[in-house]
């Protein structure tokens, strides 16, 4: 039985919330019609899910393993005092998680049943993700758990909110479909750190959807750490709707996993919005990371900044597709996009594609794309000064990535990312001191 057939058999119309039930039904039908994307779809031309879908996934995890606080420690950002929200195989771990009075957290399953949230599920839930792709529809049809996070008006959450989705599958492959909804109210501020991580070597497939609504004058930061095991794959859709005068930033650090597809979309619904998209990808072996971004400039006087850096060794593949749509009404916007890649081997690949659709006439849109190799003369110069070749290479690579890392607002996280970069580059250098 193919995964699609298995899913069809498992689909249940069981939600107590009428609005959610409707979404589920519609989404399931849409998925059933389209199926999983193939490389024949323009949007998936360079990224094949074939190998990922071959596994025999369990759709609902049988039993959740006991996970100790100690075993998750390596996957938290050490040195960051954060509010932790821990899920194992889709199940929330109350004992491992923190509570706070600075924001409200509800599990999706509970939030759906809470009549207080009726408006949210009618208005916002699935309003961004609906029909975006068959995979986000699949998530809508099957999502069981995730979080509804609300930050109240003018509230500044003092610590980052760290969400960790763990997979503990020991015997059979796991399909996990977390679903998150984040509402940042007017003038509020919050930072998030998000990570999906397998604890075992069993194949996992995470199909995640996160919708974010950023209220007037609010600030939202999201840091995605993707350094999963080699059997783990992730398809993520993060959709951010911005009201007037908001700043929304999403950082994507991709160092691991088998296949990672990031669908990152920003919708600038009010004037004076700023959207920041930074990404660093360092891959080897036959890993693949596909960053598909969309910035929809739907209002005047907004900016977007997009900086993606990639380093590809072995037979690794990178995909970057940067779509920028500027509506006719969105005058005087400034959209910047840069994608730089370094190929360390003859067998590594990068497919880079800027995609600008501009319907306004008084705008500034720039995009750039570079693909290069390591500068041999720079390596000799550094070696001549006593820096060994491996360190010299790492220093060059680190400098190459610096643009996309320097804006991290959480110092301990910046340190963590620097350490991860050093680790990926095979050196034990303290880049933090280098700064």
């Amino acid at each position: 039985m193919s995964l699609q057939d298995k899913l069809a058999a498992a689909f249940q119309e069981n939600s107590t919330n009428a609005a959610v039930q409707n979404h589920k039904k519609e989404a399931f039908n849409a998925f059933a019609q389209q199926g999983f994307p193939t490389t024949k779809d323009e949007e998936w031309k360079y990224t094949s899910l074939r190998n990922v879908l071959k596994n025999e996934y369990g759709i609902a995890p049988a039993k959740t393993a006991d996970v100790s606080a100690k075993s998750i420690q390596p996957y938290l950002v050490s040195g960051v005092d954060s509010y932790k929200l821990i899920f194992v195989d889709g199940v929330f771990q109350e004992t491992l998680s923190d509570e706070s009075d600075e924001f409200s957290v509800q599990l999706l399953s509970k939030a759906i049943e809470d009549s207080k949230n009726n408006e949210i599920f009618k208005q916002q839930y699935n309003s961004l993700a609906k029909g975006v792709s068959s995979l986000s529809d699949l998530n809508t049809a099957f999502a069981q758990e995730g979080v509804l996070i609300q930050v109240a008006k003018s509230k500044v959450v003092s610590k980052p909110i760290e969400i960790l989705y763990l997979a503990s599958g020991e015997s059979s492959a796991l399909l996990l479909q977390p679903r998150n909804l984040i509402l940042i109210a007017e003038n509020a501020q919050a930072k998030f750190i998000e990570r999906h991580q397998s604890l075992t070597d069993i194949a996992t497939f995470n199909n995640v959807v996160t919708e974010v609504f950023v209220g007037k004058n609010a600030i939202f930061d999201l840091y995605k750490i993707q350094n999963d095991k080699e059997n783990a794959s992730l398809v993520d859709a993060t959709l951010v709707a911005q009201e007037k005068d908001t700043v929304a930033s999403v950082f994507t650090f991709s160092f691991g996993g088998k296949l990672t597809r990031n669908n990152l979309s920003f919708f600038q619904n009010g004037t004076g919005c700023e959207s920041n998209l930074n990404g660093v990808t360092i891959l080897e072996g036959d890993q693949l990371v596909d960053n598909h971004t969309l910035v929809a400039h739907k209002s005047p006087d907004c900016t977007s900044n997009e900086t993606y850096k990639g380093i590809y060794g072995g037979k690794a593949t990178g995909v970057f597709n940067g779509k920028v749509i500027v509506d006719q009404i969105a005058q005087r916007i400034n959209a910047y996009q840069q994608n730089d890649s370094v190929l360390l081997s003859d067998t590594a690949t990068i497919n880079s594609k800027p995609q600008l659709e501009i319907f306004a006439d008084d705008v500034k849109c720039s995009h750039g794309c570079t693909i290069g190799q390591l500068d041999k003369s720079a390596l000799f110069y550094m070696q001549q000064r006593g820096i060994p070749p491996k360190e010299a290479q790492a220093l060059l690579m680190f400098a190459f990535c610096a643009d996309a890392v320097e804006d991290i607002k959480i110092p301990a996280l910046k340190q963590k990312i620097n350490t991860m970069v050093a680790d990926k580059l095979g050196v034990s250098m303290d880049f933090d001191e280098i700064e």
Binding site: D375, S377, A378, F380, Y381, M382, Q383, Q384, R385, G386, I387, P388, P389, E391, A392, L395, L396, F398, A399, F400, A402, D403, M429, E433, I434, E435
Partner: protein, 282 residues
């Protein structure tokens, strides 16, 4: 009894029951005998299939300044690259030793750790790495190779301050990306700044004067002169005699067609300036 130590200094040795002690007599200080720093014998090197160095010999002692002059294409820059260990050049014959130690099989970074420094004719731009961070990394890489801990931050800072002042380098310059957007003069000053920080035993200055105006030339030359000691040696590669007014050489060599064809004192440089190379190179 009076003895002479390894450096040629005489001292009085007294023996007691427990220990030997050395007493140096200040009035008996002599100039130590110069050690050989760089010794190159019969060096042949090629790049791809072109033979460039064809039996080069030179010996540079501690405390000396040697100038290498010669027409274009004589192999001057190749000489510098080969001593520094650039892998684009293949050494086919001969030897390079520093203080008696064979360098030919060592990587560029290992040679640097032994004390070889090359001031590049065209310093490479390294975006994203600041001057300060680069030099810190270089110094600590050398210390690591020598089994030492990283240089304490305060000491590093003091040294950077002192050496940048010597080369009249401003503070904000140090936080700029290495060589990126630097003028010719800034690049060369930065090279000598790095030399001052790394305190090499052998410094090869490859056309450090090219592209420098007279003021910058003075600053750079002054920097080199301050760093000169009885414990290191400098090889200056240049086209023009002008630099040698400021960095005064003990010996001048003419390199032509991959070999040293004439050597002399500093007056040779003046003669070359006046007459060109044709009278030596036929």
């Amino acid at each position: 009894m009076e003895k002479v130590d390894n450096y040629g200094l005489s001292y009085q040795e007294t023996k007691t029951d427990k220990e030997k002690s050395k007493t140096y007599h200040i009035d008996k200080f002599q100039k130590p005998k110069a050690r050989t720093m760089l010794k190159i014998e019969n060096l042949h090197a090629k790049v791809e299939d072109n033979d460039i160095l064809k039996g080069l010999n030179i010996e540079v002692k501690a405390g000396e300044v040697h100038a290498i002059m010669g027409p274009n294409g004589a192999g001057k820059s190749t000489f510098a690259s080969v001593v520094a260990g650039n892998e684009n050049y293949e050494v086919t014959e001969g030897s390079i030793t520093l203080e008696g130690e064979d360098l030919t099989e060592l990587d560029p970074d290992e040679r640097a750790h032994k004390g070889v420094f090359l001031s590049f004719q065209y310093p490479v731009e390294i975006p994203g790495v600041s001057v300060t961070n680069f030099i810190k990394t270089a110094i600590n890489a050398k210390r690591k190779a020598q089994g030492l801990e990283d240089m304490p931050a305060a000491e590093m800072l003091k040294k950077i301050k002192e050496k940048s002042a010597l080369l009249e380098i401003k503070r904000d310059f140090l936080s700029r990306s290495l060589n990126e957007g630097f003028s010719g003069g800034e690049k060369k000053r930065n090279e000598i700044f790095q030399m001052a920080m790394l305190e090499p035993k052998l410094a090869i200055l490859d056309e450090t004067d090219s592209g420098l105006d007279i003021d910058a030339l003075r600053i750079v030359a002054n920097g080199v002169n301050k760093l000169k000691s009885d414990d290191n040696a400098v090889v200056v590669i240049t086209h023009y005699q002008r630099l040698l007014d400021y960095i005064v050489p003990d010996y001048v060599h003419v390199l032509a067609d991959g070999k040293i064809v004439k050597s002399g004192g500093k007056e040779l440089a003046l003669e070359l300036e006046e007459k060109g190379y044709d009278w030596i190179v036929k």
